[in-house]
Symmetry: C2
Subunit: 301 residues, 2 copies
Amino acid sequence: MKTAAFEDWKRQAQMAVEAALEAWVPEDAPAGLGVAMRYGVLDGGKRVRPLLVLAAAQATGGSEGAAMRAAVAVELIHAYSLIHDDMPCMDNDVLRRGKPTVHVQFGQAQAMLAGDAMHTLAFELLTAPPGQEEDFELAPALSARLCGLLARAAGHTGMAGGQAIDLASVGKPLSHAQLRDMHRRKTGALLQASVRMGAACGRPDARAWQALSEYGEAIGLAFQIVDDILDVTQESSTLGKTAGKDQDSNKPTYVTVLGLDAARRQVQELHAQAHAALSGSGLAETAMLARLADRIVERDS
Amino acid sequence: MKTAAFEDWKRQAQMAVEAALEAWVPEDAPAGLGVAMRYGVLDGGKRVRPLLVLAAAQATGGSEGAAMRAAVAVELIHAYSLIHDDMPCMDNDVLRRGKPTVHVQFGQAQAMLAGDAMHTLAFELLTAPPGQEEDFELAPALSARLCGLLARAAGHTGMAGGQAIDLASVGKPLSHAQLRDMHRRKTGALLQASVRMGAACGRPDARAWQALSEYGEAIGLAFQIVDDILDVTQESSTLGKTAGKDQDSNKPTYVTVLGLDAARRQVQELHAQAHAALSGSGLAETAMLARLADRIVERDS
């Protein structure tokens, strides 16, 4: 596929995700809560997770309407985790996507609540309003399945568990295996879930499901290693968040544990694994997923 | 129904809920996260919400296995909200259920994460593990419906929205209508959802569903007004949490807005409404729900 075609698809998909977030994250939630929620998720992200959902749904013949709900739900989980992660009791970060973080802008209490409300909203968007089950875009079985995939990636076995390890590992040496486990949970699980949720919207056979799961696992881990690399090689102005913070906070990363060169080699290996998984998937329409893997590896912010 | 029969049922149900929480809230979640989660939810609560779920399921002929998942999910949402609510940036409370609060015991970061992980776990328990859809206690449509009811009660239209209003209303006069709106969202929505989720496990007709929704709404609001009353009439040692804190933090309550006598009259009216709804439900087995309404009104802690 031509780069131009990918760029067109990506831009259109990002605009559609932005429009869905605009429509579904309510400005009128009480007492400024909606304003804080929207501040925390609108206008800024690269929308990597939603793009993975949409590309995986496309690859497996899933409906765009269903996939968009899954895409927005995943992004809301990601955005809530950033809000909580930035708070003073966690990473104490003041800059995110080039803007003051939510707690800097709205206070800690509102930030915590906005994160909580976004966390819940993800599941709300995946389920029919009471009494409207028959007109809803997601059939009940798909609705339940998407909730299940998302919860397992976001909770104690996934993202929240990874953050707990992250928190406990400050200043401690981790083995490569421990570090990989932390990264897989903290970042990898939700990225893999994005691919799986997209695929669940379509009709993948067992082979395609397995291949897409492997693809998701590889790019999920690669994404976090690239983050570790960018943290030491880029400026804050490029990243839109504070650079060098892992080092400053004495957190183990792929760069501190393996060194920069070995970290880069790991990324290349995972990149190759992701492509190999797509090639073996038996699916025809994997071009967008392939280009997304390239971007995750080649990005500079 | 005899009081002794109710007491027996309640004790057995509470023990079953405790056993389910023991089994489903994982001790081995990474880096102490499971320990903090269990500390925040085991051994302590009155389990009002789970009891409502179980009683409503019994009244409508729902399976106990399905209802127990709903009961534990609701309790996890309640428990996560208490953990976050107790944190220094919110109510800054150090005592809960007679024990140091989670952030006092484990630090703020772990407390926030434990709350987040419990929030997600609620939805995990309502959905089948991937690949085990066919053996799961909840049929997909029920699974999706329970997730939807829970999310709508917990999120910006319900509990999180009510907490935002609560936060914004410190030191401000609220009208009776505004106060009622806040209480309905902050506490009432999850209590009503408990009744509805239990009923969704059974086979209520439209009349019974409507009646149970009205029952849930009445006891949901009554519960919070009783809380407001107890805050000024009881000692901390009886409550197991800090008494007088609404007054100290200058928060509007039914007692400050209506006065103690009018607040008590409101509770009696809501109590009568709850019983009237049960009488008009067309359901035979509403004795447990009726006694739970009595307890919510008559409790002294």
